[in-house]
Symmetry: C2
């Protein structure tokens, strides 16, 4: 069966050419872009390649009929966020995409959203694959970092402070509203939806934290779950101050318990959760200023395993660790 566009076939090659092909920047790292068997990229001397891949599936990571411009943004944003979390500088990315049909309007909006974020980070789409099938978007992002400067998950130590960038919980608040689980005013919904649909990867902060942060992760599955990976790999526990959590703007109007639950377990925030020695407190604040990113100290690592959540008066609050998992939820 032929898919037709404007009364003529839109082939795979035309599709790539029309929506995704741009000439490489002359001074950039890309030696050979889209249009050969492989792309070629120059990794800066003395640095290692950092690579991560994320797949977004319709009906699972986004709603059927999702705004394609925002979807283009988010597809790249969630991948850039992984580079941010390890302190790597973005260099380029590949895109593999499975589409039910070659819809020109959808492709135009999707590629515009995707490439706008790529431009903001001065990186290029270096290669890809397009095929027909259920809507599925897979980006592999490429960056570089001197090996010794990479911010891994296993470097935190008891006594380190725990920090979070930006704010938490609004993305999950929007998702809950869109699923009809809660109701929001129009203003609250549009505020929260922006966080769900157009997350901001914290790459400038990730770079500024090189040499300061001892461990980092991006908050995609919920703060407690993601912090849990740092705790496990760094062999530590944590004390978190609930009233220090940076709640999202829409979330701040909800009742305290819901607010806390969404900020701790919400997911889809794409903020950085990171640790740094208490002696580097001011250096972290400077890194936040340099990168124009809010940073908030929310607690401290301890040797004793597990997470303790405290209220403003020092009382322990109950917490449920319900990180999102694609195969158990």
């Amino acid at each position: 069966m032929a898919i037709r566009y404007n009364r003529r076939m839109l082939s795979e090659f035309q599709l790539i050419e029309r929506y995704f092909h741009r000439a490489p920047r002359p001074a950039g790292p890309v030696r050979l872009g889209v249009g050969d068997d492989c792309a070629l990229l120059q990794i800066p001397a003395g640095e290692t390649l950092a690579v991560s891949t994320d797949m977004l599936v319709e009906g699972r990571h986004f709603f059927t009929g999702a705004d394609p411009h925002a979807l283009g943004h988010k597809t790249l944003a969630v991948n850039l966020s992984d580079l941010a979390a390890i302190g790597a500088r973005p260099l380029g990315f590949t895109l593999a995409i499975s589409l039910p049909s070659a819809d020109a309007e959808w492709l135009h909006a999707f590629s515009t959203g995707l490439l706008a974020l790529a431009d903001l980070h001065q990186i290029e789409l270096v290669g890809g694959d397009t095929t027909r099938g259920p809507l599925n978007l897979c980006v592999t992002v490429l960056g570089s970092v001197p090996e010794s400067a990479a911010i891994r998950r296993n470097g935190a130590r008891p006594g380190d402070e725990i920090w979070v960038s930006g704010s938490l919980g609004d993305a999950k608040l929007a998702l809950s509203a869109l699923l009809g689980e809660i109701s929001l005013t129009g203003d609250q919904l549009s505020l929260a939806s922006e966080r769900l649909h157009r997350p901001t990867p914290r790459n400038a902060l990730g770079l500024a934290l090189r040499g300061i942060a001892t461990a980092a992760i991006d908050v995609s599955d919920g703060l407690l779950g993601d912090l849990g990976h740092i705790l496990k790999q760094s062999d530590a526990g944590a004390v978190i101050h609930a009233d220090e959590l940076p709640y999202g703007l829409a979330l701040s109007r909800r009742d305290p318990e819901q607010r806390r639950a969404l900020a701790l377990n919400g997911g889809d925030d794409y903020e950085l959760c990171f640790c740094a020695p208490a002696s580097r407190h001011d250096a972290v604040l400077d890194a936040g200023r340099q990168s124009h990113t809010e940073v908030t100290c929310i607690g401290r690592l301890r040797a004793e395993p597990g997470v303790q959540l405290l209220d403003a008066s020092g009382r322990t609050l109950a917490l449920m660790n319900q990180s999102f998992d694609h195969f158990t939820s």
Copy 2:
């Protein structure tokens, strides 16, 4: 809804851990493998990163119910083939996978097939993503090559000889039989199916052709279509000798016209089609011997655009260029 395995949940993390996680080789290029925000790889000094991505969709690239061991092999093989075609040495790969359910038997067979080929090429799975959704497999393969040694598509010149590795057409013959378009004996079908389901990426040949081949591509969409990319990018035409085409073993028993059509337009061969100056004829034969790969000279480039197909007596044969395209077929 929870997916259950042996009466307990199999989480995304358990799934990755159980089937895909192995310790990095101590002396390999992988500095940090699965289990952090990014993987870190060391690119050899003086070389550039070569990267390619391919997405395989159920019902499009493979049949529903396809043997998962063979599918694991093929998912990596088609990506390795892209590195072979540019003369890059494989270093590692990422895998993003969308699965309808976490089926233990399927995952075991798939990962075994995938990792067996990875072991053969001494490369590692460095990162990935697993999610629930329609079956979709996306590998991004990473390799390296000195920039000046990369075998691109645009370097061929009129007078260069055209070569093909291995044999052509059996994969498409098997596909036609499986679709019920033609009938084969059991022996022929199993011979041909092996080529369809377990293609051999020609990486050793690709490396041996550095400094010899002027252009190369892997034959995934059909010889004429793929050679067409070299011709377009190298601004040349070609004369091909039909009786020199290396027909697959099963194909060689078909009638001449069908044989020719499948060898020229079949696709899914994952052989290398490459060009080299006639003065390097013996060097190409040596590269084939070194890499234990058959190589066959099938024609020559000319300045005049287009492709001319000749029979043994020098008569021009009709040819139909029907390269496979995911959005027009």
